[in-house]
């Protein structure tokens, strides 16, 4: 065999390059689409969780003044003077509302204080503000003398911060710069735990319900199995909202389940099922079941029945034969299904919001609260990226102990 000449080699290389360039051009639209609609918005949202320069942009000089402050007493009059001047400038540009919102987030109750103080300083002269800033502010509201407030302002003034992550973990920074458990409210860790617990319940239920069904489908003749698969997929194609509201109709106090149980005399009083975590688990199991059945089915289809027959003919009882021969072979499908169901349910929003009531809420619902009502997008972003980190961690653990290469989707 003769070696390629150098011209032949370069021709081959350039043909290869062309080929890969062509392949690349084919994926460019998809890549651009994903970058634009997926990675860029999510990236910018996550960026918010650590970068929040609003306060630093609104009152830069006050923050510079505060660097001299000892952090324990009321700041000196000069700081107040500078702050009063900046507040007046903001009030004239109609930006004091923004500052009010930011201060209020750092220290609850400040929104009205900032707004009313801004109204008071609006008409004063620069000299007055500079020399009597402290008096004017303290007369407007005694809250301005509180060291804790100025400490909160100082922290909010950092353009790069990890404070939102602290809040998301129920922690806060105290006056001595140490990290402590939040005094005010602690909900997020509890909600993360609850979310994981509910996702686990849903995954287990899906596996328990899906496994026998997928097995049954896999041993049927192909045409009958296909027909039944359509039945599995049918709810999958129905709108999510329709399926969720159908559960409301079934589970409500005077719903179908309660009224039939009442009429046959099993219960005397309707059972509270709707607006509980039970409702969330049931409805989500129903919605996510196809994600479990499909990978299981395709893996089971590929398993030769002769394995089981061989095991039994060699003397294994049905149960050990199943546990030691068949079950391990279905693990790739089971883990793929479990992982899919688990990850989807951890971030699920609409079903818990509709049927969950109070105890069926998940972390996604509190993220929605901060996006829509409290307007604290930074905290929502921190909660969201923690959730993302949590899922990646679980995936890593899974890969470590089970092996991601084991997953088989079809």
């Amino acid at each position: 065999m003769s070696a390629l000449s150098s011209t032949e080699a370069s021709q081959a290389a350039s043909a290869q390059r062309k080929k890969s360039l062509r392949a690349f051009l084919f994926v460019v639209p998809l890549l651009a689409f994903i970058m634009l609609t997926f990675i860029a918005p999510i990236g910018s949202m996550l960026w918010r969780s650590v970068n929040h320069p609003t306060v630093a942009e609104l009152i830069p000089q006050t923050l510079t003044e505060l660097q001299r402050w000892d952090g324990k007493t009321t700041p000196d009059p000069q700081t107040f003077g500078v702050f009063a001047t900046e507040l007046q400038a903001l009030a004239k540009q109609r930006l004091s509302g923004k500052l009010a919102e930011e201060f209020n987030r750092a220290y609850a109750g400040m929104s009205s204080v900032v707004k009313s103080t801004a109204r008071k300083v609006r008409s004063l002269s620069p000299e007055e503000l500079n020399s009597q800033g402290a008096e004017i502010l303290l007369n407007a509201n005694p809250k301005w003398s509180r060291p804790a407030l100025w400490f909160a302002i100082q922290r909010a003034g950092q353009p790069y911060t990890y404070d939102y992550y602290l809040t998301a973990l129920d922690l806060e920074v105290n006056l001595e710069q140490g990290i402590q458990v939040r005094e005010d409210t602690q909900i997020y860790l509890q909600l993360y735990g609850k979310t994981l617990y509910m996702a686990l319940q849903i995954t287990l239920l899906c596996a328990l319900l899906g496994y026998p069904l997928a097995y049954y489908l896999s041993v049927l003749p192909k045409n009958r199995a296909n027909l039944l698969l359509v039945l599995v997929l049918l709810p999958f194609w129905t709108s999510l909202l329709v399926r969720t509201t159908a559960w409301i109709a079934l589970l409500q106090t005077n719903g179908i389940i309660n009224s039939s149980l009442l009429s046959i005399g099993v219960i005397n009083q309707p059972i509270e099922m709707l607006y509980t975590s039970f409702a969330t688990v049931i409805a989500m199991t129903h919605i996510l079941l196809p994600f479990m059945i499909l990978p299981l089915y395709s893996v089971m289809r590929g398993i030769d029945t002769s394995y089981m027959r061989a095991a039994m003919s060699l003397g294994a009882k049905p149960l050990p034969a199943f546990a030691r021969i068949y079950f391990p072979m279905t693990l790739p499908g089971l883990s793929a299904g479990a992982l899919l169901v688990f990850i989807i349910s951890v971030g699920y929003y609409i079903t818990p919001a509709l049927v969950g009531g109070t105890d069926g809420q998940m972390i996604s619902n509190i993220i929605a609260f901060h996006m829509q009502s409290s307007n604290n997008w930074e905290l929502a972003a921190a909660l969201g990226s923690l959730l993302l980190g949590l899922i990646l961690l679980l995936y890593w653990l899974y890969d470590r102990f089970v092996g991601a290469s084991n997953i088989k989707l079809g």
């Binding site: 360039l21 051009l25 509302g97 929104s111 009205s112 707004k115 409210t185 409500q252 409290s374």
Partner: protein, 357 residues
């Protein structure tokens, strides 16, 4: 070889995009107005949108949203303004205006009332108190019961809502601290005038949560006013909280046997505002000035929401008068928008924490 079709495609998209912008440029007289839908939206369409379209020839796109400032914030921050005029709850209005999401509205351009009273005197003061908007309706959060399921003793006071011994059964509340905290304090004996003062203290907040805690196991929570009449209708709850117009509509249009309890109702305003950076700013101002004249405002009594102009009262359907929040102001409490601007977020967190306990 590969390049040319791609080039072709991008040329096509470019052409499509350009034709879109030219279309937008020619169809200048289009205005996007966003409100709450339902019976209220229908009344606005009848009395404000349709007459405005007819008189000015402007095409109005009338869309729905479910409150909150998140969508407005997203539009203003990205600079892609899709909404022109928005109907806001005052709680959202305070925040949207102070965060710079709304244009400042020229209140001096508002026309006189139908009886000739200057706008500044014709409007109730609260309607013009925010520089970014014009008050549109007075509405109220009330609770109601179903005559068929209440039993022998009807509910009459806000205390009854918290009294499961007197009226057994589930209560339905919207899942948020607003109004519920006020109700809890009033039921616990706090005078309406002191409610927000007490609620600003940690002890007061604890007191409200404790009172709510006495009926916690009996509360059904919902997320949108539209769910409320349904809950009352199918027996999901005995006492149900909602906007008064939702109940009124169910009573009037569908003949439901609901009874509204006005004791301790918390009334508030809705207002029209213009999104900051709207390309149709002038037209949007014109629409608001048109929609808040005496006659269109009188039409809001169709859904039992009170007018914000005094001159509208004689023009209303007299049958609706006793069902308007404005007829019950003596037993009510005005929602504290400044209070909720201060404590909305921190109490929202505490409320969620309390729910999980």
């Amino acid at each position: 070889m590969i390049r040319s079709p791609l080039k072709h495609i991008s040329a096509c998209t470019l052409a499509a995009a350009m034709s879109l912008t030219t279309f937008a440029a020619t169809a200048e007289e289009t205005l996007t107005v966003v409100s709450w839908g339902g019976a209220y939206g229908a009344a606005q369409k009848n009395h404000m949108i349709d007459p405005f379209q007819k008189e000015t020839g402007v095409k109005v796109l009338f869309e729905d949203y479910s409150g909150g400032v998140a969508e407005m914030k997203a539009q203003v921050e990205s600079g892609k303004i899709q909404w022109d005029v928005v109907d806001l709850e005052v709680i959202d209005l305070e925040r949207a205006c102070s965060e710079g999401l709304l244009e400042v509205f020229p209140h001096d351009t508002l026309p006189d009332g139908v009886d000739g009273t200057p706008a500044a005197k014709d409007f109730i003061p609260e309607a013009l108190s925010n520089e970014c908007a014009v008050g549109n309706i007075v509405w109220s959060v009330v609770y109601a019961y179903n005559k068929d399921t209440i039993g022998k003793t009807p509910a009459t006071s806000i205390g009854d809502f918290f009294d499961t011994a007197k009226i057994p059964g589930k209560r339905a509340l919207r899942k948020r601290p607003q109004v519920n905290m006020e109700w809890a304090l009033m039921a616990d004996g706090v005078a309406p005038a002191d409610v927000y003062k007490v609620l600003a203290t940690p002890e007061g907040q604890q007191r409200a949560f404790d009172k709510l805690g006495t009926i916690k196991d009996d509360i059904v929570w919902f997320d949108s006013w539209s769910q409320a009449p349904q809950l009352l209708n199918d027996g999901g709850a005995v006492l149900v909280q909602s906007a008064n117009g939702r109940f009124y509509d169910a009573i009037r249009q569908e003949g439901k046997p609901f009874v509204i309890v006005w004791a301790g109702h918390v009334y508030d305003l809705d207002a029209w505002g213009v999104l900051k950076g709207s390309e149709n700013k002038e037209l949007a101002f014109k629409f608001i000035a048109y929609a808040t004249q005496s006659k269109p405002l009188a039409g809001m009594s169709d859904v039992a929401y009170g007018p914000t102009r005094k001159s509208s009262t004689p023009m209303m359907d007299p049958a609706a008068a006793p069902h308007l929040p404005t007829a019950h102001l003596d037993t009510g409490l005005q929602a504290g928008s400044a209070f909720w601007a201060d404590y909305g977020e921190s109490l929202g967190e505490k409320f969620n924490e309390w729910l999980l306990k």
